[in-house]
Symmetry: C4
Subunit: 488 residues, 4 copies
């Protein structure tokens, strides 16, 4: 005679050491079957101690249960003891809707877009506006994203992809992943842990981090807890007051975790970031009211200050030149120099020939400086076409618009050695502090590995032009034409 | 004197053997006129026994009724017996709206988009998400569709198109239609009849079917009721546990209905199908609550399992290589081998030179593996340009994004021999079981025939490049460039 | 002393023979000033007898009124007698909205899009669906429109454009305008006046008209009231029952107004016009209910009948061939033959070499036959590139997607002699009967004349390739490539 | 012992001469620190006399306050006296929304789009419609804007951009900025100050102004208050009544502020500006009702008058020709002649060879004349390709679609010397009178300077083709092809 179970009894067997499931009112002990389940043990354990009928039935061929040993069939369930069916986990209004509901927790974030959505729902307006904003009409910010989507990948078959190695080196320093944290300012606007929180996540995932000149935490504090293998760079905006810059370089020299200087050149003046400026405009209304003498002129003066972005540029030198600046910098640091903000092949050639310059970052400053400046992918392709020798003399890194692991891989195929992620990391910090940044790295690392395996590539140095079809972008990049004068 | 009829009397004459209609209050017997009606008998029979005034009047020249013999005029109707006018069949809110209301029955489905809409309204979320999902941002899924719409057709005139023959052969096996059922997994999620239900519809329409390795019904059950002329293939994902694969190949060898093996190569690891994974995320929330010890880490572990898609990939081998795998496979099957997932002309050339390989499927796995992988149309055009000899050595099939009969014809013009339909068939199954799949085949067959006739083509083997203008796609396909190394 | 007027008195002077206006509470008699007003007399007459202050003030420089003779100042108005300000003529919800409110009368229709909007609001669903519908996904219908918008015009300066002559000849018959009425079927669905109503409007504007084979009025009735200079063509769909076609040709031979036969070749079978078919589906539901024995199969059979479109194709021959059909036709008509539906340069060459063929219509049947068939502009450019001699041997007409006078002019620049308008005329008929069609012609004529003048062109025969920039389209047209066979 | 302050006391110290702030309940006197604050003094003064904790905390590294001298720490605040936190300045419904709320004051306008939005909310319908309207479907108006966004900029690094000089000369007359006010008509529709108001703003910013032939203020009144260095041009539409034009030229000759004549050629007839015409249509309904005898024909006649635009064209000559017109003009003016409305390189060549013609304006009349006429950028590139000598013989100016400082710079890079802004200035006038126009100039000047600095350019004459990537536009410009005749 078959034993009849109460649901309360069955529900206790919900562990790997005793795993029961109910299927069509029968109770089975599947503990010994867990290791050999074709779908893996977890998909059963998720249903351990429960009525698995709805999940089991549709995806198993008839006769599957007869493959279990007879002893696994323990008996039947008393249906009156079964709980009422679970509520659907997704709100019914979203059933079968291609657009998923906005995530409300880190664990619901499957990609970097989800992370941004979650951070947007949590951040104060001023912080959000500072991170979100880009110059003018956001055309470069948008182009930074879409240019990657226009490059197709070319997966190869019959390659053993059991192993996948994402490690590389930046200026000879080993890193676990080919992407790094771009020098984005003001991390504490997003979370109290700030740049030090980012550093903690970097330590866990072996990711390099470039500390912003405008970090909201001192460099000393950021690197304080760094592991010995952790790689940092430090971003320099040369100040009009050179002595201030020299003092900072001296402080950096005392921090052995910092391996290189990233001299930023793409923003001698602040771009016009209107989302950010509107915050200031809104605040200024309050100022004027407070002063009791508001006029249009005063209001405009307040507005003219701009937002967080413009404040950060106060004091930045506008008089940098190739020889004078690089010689001055050589006198004040022994670290390798990386030039950030290269946007033409002409400047890439010039930069790559300067002693002391070991790397370039092709960057339009995340679209925040000049609107309609070229995306780094354009500059990368421009250098490939007109000045491929640059890749021999320097490491070439890129940033801007990286939202998927496939974007990272595409940049590597085009010749980039490192790929910077800026906003994505800050959104991660805003979405969940250190854990949020870790989630960003976990997502990107998983996407890079899946992409490499599907391409049939084991190591990042194998990636090349044969793995992509960039023709839709190729036809848009700069073409050297004889200038007007030459034709007359 | 004219006879006056009651509507009840007239309404009985609503058959081909006695067909009366009321026009402008006169009653006519048009039975003998049915065969010679320029618009065909059905358009009259639809109005048999009814007041046809509104339908008749606008489309017939004056004097039409006078062409009827006088005896056809039976008399007049007693207007008081007429029913009140019919309600409009379409909801008034949709009157003259270019966007039709969503279909609520198979008979309202005029195309495959309607079929998907109907299935979406009927399927449980988990099944819908599994079928709908594709990798990352669905760019390849979308491109699979749009690439067909960018190819124009070139209709020829003055060709006798009385006959239209859609039959062809796949690896010498005759089939009635040039499209086939792609090996899409888990049909029972959509309908209890599952893959066997699809097979029944295939039998009726003479369509070939490739049985998924992850079918939710055993191959034996699927082919059990097959007709002797029905053509099946069987999809193989090689398992890490080779013995399991060898056992399956032995089972397949015992099924004479299965004519070839389709070795799938485009997904050594699962793509990141987020719609599918979100289902698991939603479910996992419940698991964690149930275990009483939910933490972020546990939640993420649950999520990391992914959805139905990832479960199916458990156990799939990642170590396949050209020689080793094809030699092993040759030892365990005598069937012709078709390699699925070829996405570059380089691999097409390699594949076409291996003995035992008789066919290729150009496929990006319905956009489900690598996002931004090329649509099959790209690979087809790549092979045409760089390696046309492949078409001589192998049959080349394609799949992905086929939603119209014109898409099938375009692929054939480009050199494909067979065109796989995956999601469309599953949506058909979800929309209406076996009858739903039949409706899919009926629609596609009708569209293919109309397209061939309008092109001025009688047989599928006549289709060629002269029937299409693919220039808008041609300029986007891969161009071989010298790699960086070669230029330095 | 200044006289004070009552508004009632002023308001009587609202004619060209006595025109008073109020400006800033002063009353002026501007009758004698009317002929010399820089803005023309009408803009004053519109305000005659009224308070013109608001209209006058913003657009006239200060001191303008002092240029009037002193006697023109009659006195002042008693403000208490002024009516309250007029309500704004546009609903306030639409104030300063780039999207205008839908027109509710012919006089509010400024362009053909307005005409379609107005007709859509007035037509019964069945008629609307028949006119609106096109094949499959409406891609060709849409491309027919957008291809014109991608061609730019090249206006020339310093050309005397006082005169503008839009007249031309079709097969040596003079017409006043270079556009004609395409043979669109079933005009009585739109308005009881049907094709005869269109003919009346054509008479007024000197427009040629091609009578549809499926006209809802007999050809005799259509041409009955034609003026002696009016030009008609008659469209022939060859019937399976050739005797029926021969009988029709005999009837046409008796109508001297009909100058040529337009043999339609682009639709040997009906295209799949889903908007039209949905009407039938909706109606069929009723049929099945009525028969009391509804099943899915019966419903589908009813649906398979299609809409108005498919009914019209019953009996159309599918076995036409170059020699047999053209010889047969030559035996049954002495009129010049125009072949409609040419969509490739290959067929254009073949057609232009047949004796008896005097004209071609490049047409994809308004996008109603084959979806993704090329727009006529493509075929025109194809012929220009590969077979320009065609233009010497035949007149080349085009149709499809013409919505603006600039579209007409662009087609003429590309080498077309006549430009067919089909749906636009039917929408005009639906929007307002004969007057609606006249409004369509008035709009298009005005737009053609403005376009010619702005181009600096007096006569249509002067238009040429130098007046357009079609490069954005040029790169998409068909390119002859060696077929696969030739490359192996 | 620490002093405890009342908030009322602290709030009095809100000036540069005594500036206190509260941070984390401590009160600091930061007056002496203001000049050396890295973010500039204003960002502190904004918070003077207030609780600055929220603003200070996130963006300063720990330890920042310890850099203040101990005496700066005055004491603590009595928290009970603090005001409740400020309401967020942006409406909560707009929090973290990429689309900002519409501006309600000039100070909230950060760009020209904001200015248009504000003006749209303030202008009467007739004025808005006249300014907003463009020909037909607004395709040229739209293309004028988008063509700029498709041109990318190429920023150079390591250039000293301390200085930025935007001055240039127009026909040897120095101007402070490379953009000028296009001759847009009817400024008093927007604001009572009209064209004289625009002139006042021009005086302040050193901007040149072309006075419209259809100005709503007399030229004498416009230039009355001009500064001696201010540069004006005067637009001429030659009248059918040449004597009227001659009289106007005589009046212009008496105004030394006017330096050149701009002969407009791109609109011998009015374009079809439907937004403008709909205003007239709406008004005409009223007219007809008033006359008591409304019929469709009368209504249409009223409509045919068109809007403001058509009224302005009454009397414009349509019979201009190269020799006759330029000779006539030479007899009636001694001023240099600028030809406006050149849209082809052929006309640019002809124009540049006429003595007396010193400048060209490449213009499609703001998209208001011929729809699908080329944007000025196209014509500029056409001249560069086919007739670069034009730039040697004439100054080449452009207008149409300029909405950003980057647009101005791009046009200069392509070879334009001056860049006209029309609608933008009128929207400024509508948004805020003289101050609104000043705001437009202030915005554009700031954007031009930022763009030049980010490009690494100090003076406008340095700008050239090497600073832009116009390849995406280049492939769409006119290509000379052999005309049909030549090929036969």
């Amino acid at each position: 005679m078959t034993k009849v179970f109460d649901f309360k009894e069955v529900s206790k067997h919900n562990t790997p050491s005793s795993c029961w499931v109910i299927i069509a009112n029968n109770v089975y002990d599947v503990t010994s079957f867990l290791p050999s389940h074709p779908g893996g043990p977890k998909s059963i354990l998720r249903l351990a101690g429960k009525d698995a009928t709805a999940d089991f039935d549709p995806i198993h061929p008839p006769g599957t249960l007869s493959q279990l040993p007879p002893t696994a069939h323990l008996g039947t369930i008393d249906p009156s003891t079964l709980p009422s069916p679970l509520q659907p986990a997704l709100p019914s209004s979203n059933t079968n809707n291609p657009i998923p509901p906005p995530p409300t927790s880190l664990s619901q974030c499957l990609n970097l877009h989800d992370i941004e959505t979650l951070a947007t729902s949590k951040l104060p307006h001023k912080a959000w506006a500072y991170y979100f904003s880009a110059a003018d009409d956001l055309l470069s910010k948008s182009l930074n994203r879409t240019v990657y989507s226009r490059i197709l990948l070319r997966p190869r078959i019959f390659v053993d992809v059991t192993k996948c190695n994402t490690s590389t080196t930046f200026l000879s320093h080993p890193v676990a992943l080919p992407f790094y944290v771009s020098p984005a300012a003001m991390a504490r606007l997003a979370h109290p842990s700030g740049e030090a929180g980012i550093a903690a996540a970097c330590a866990k995932y072996g990711v390099a981090q470039i500390i912003s000149h405008n970090a909201s935490t001192t460099p000393e504090a950021i690197v304080a807890a760094a592991s010995p293998t952790q790689v940092f760079g430090w971003q320099l905006y040369v100040q009009t007051n050179r002595a201030a810059s020299e003092a900072m370089l001296a402080r950096i020299a005392a921090l052995p975790s910092i391996k290189f200087i990233v001299l930023t050149l793409d923003a001698p003046v602040a771009g016009k970031r209107e989302h950010d400026e509107r915050t200031a405009t809104a605040l200024s209304a309050d100022v004027v009211v407070g002063s009791g003498s508001g006029t249009g002129a005063e209001e405009r003066a307040a507005r003219a200050e701009g937002g967080v972005g413009k404040a950060l540029f106060a004091g930045t030198a506008m008089d940098l030149t190739w020889s004078a600046t690089l010689e001055w910098l050589g006198r004040h640091t022994n670290l390798p120099i990386v030039l950030k903000g290269v946007q033409t092949h002409e400047d890439a050639v010039l930069a790559s020939r300067y002693p002391g310059v070991k790397g370039l970052v092709l960057s339009n400053h995340g679209g925040r400086a000049m609107d309609t400046a070229p995306p780094a992918v354009h500059t990368l392709m421009e250098i490939r076409r007109y000045a491929p020798g640059v890749f021999e003399r320097c490491e070439v890194w890129v940033d801007g618009g990286v939202g998927r692991g496939t974007d990272v891989v595409k940049a590597l195929c085009l010749g980039a050695r490192g790929v910077g992620v800026g906003r994505g990391v800050l959104w991660g910090l805003g979405a969940g502090g250190v854990e949020g940044v870790e989630r960003v790295f976990e997502i990107l690392k998983g996407e890079v590995e899946t992409c490499m395996r599907l391409l049939g590539v084991e190591r990042v140095e194998e990636l090349g032009m044969r793995h992509i079809n960039a023709r839709a972008v190729e036809r848009d990049i700069y073409e050297e034409v004889l200038d007007l004068k030459a034709r007359l």
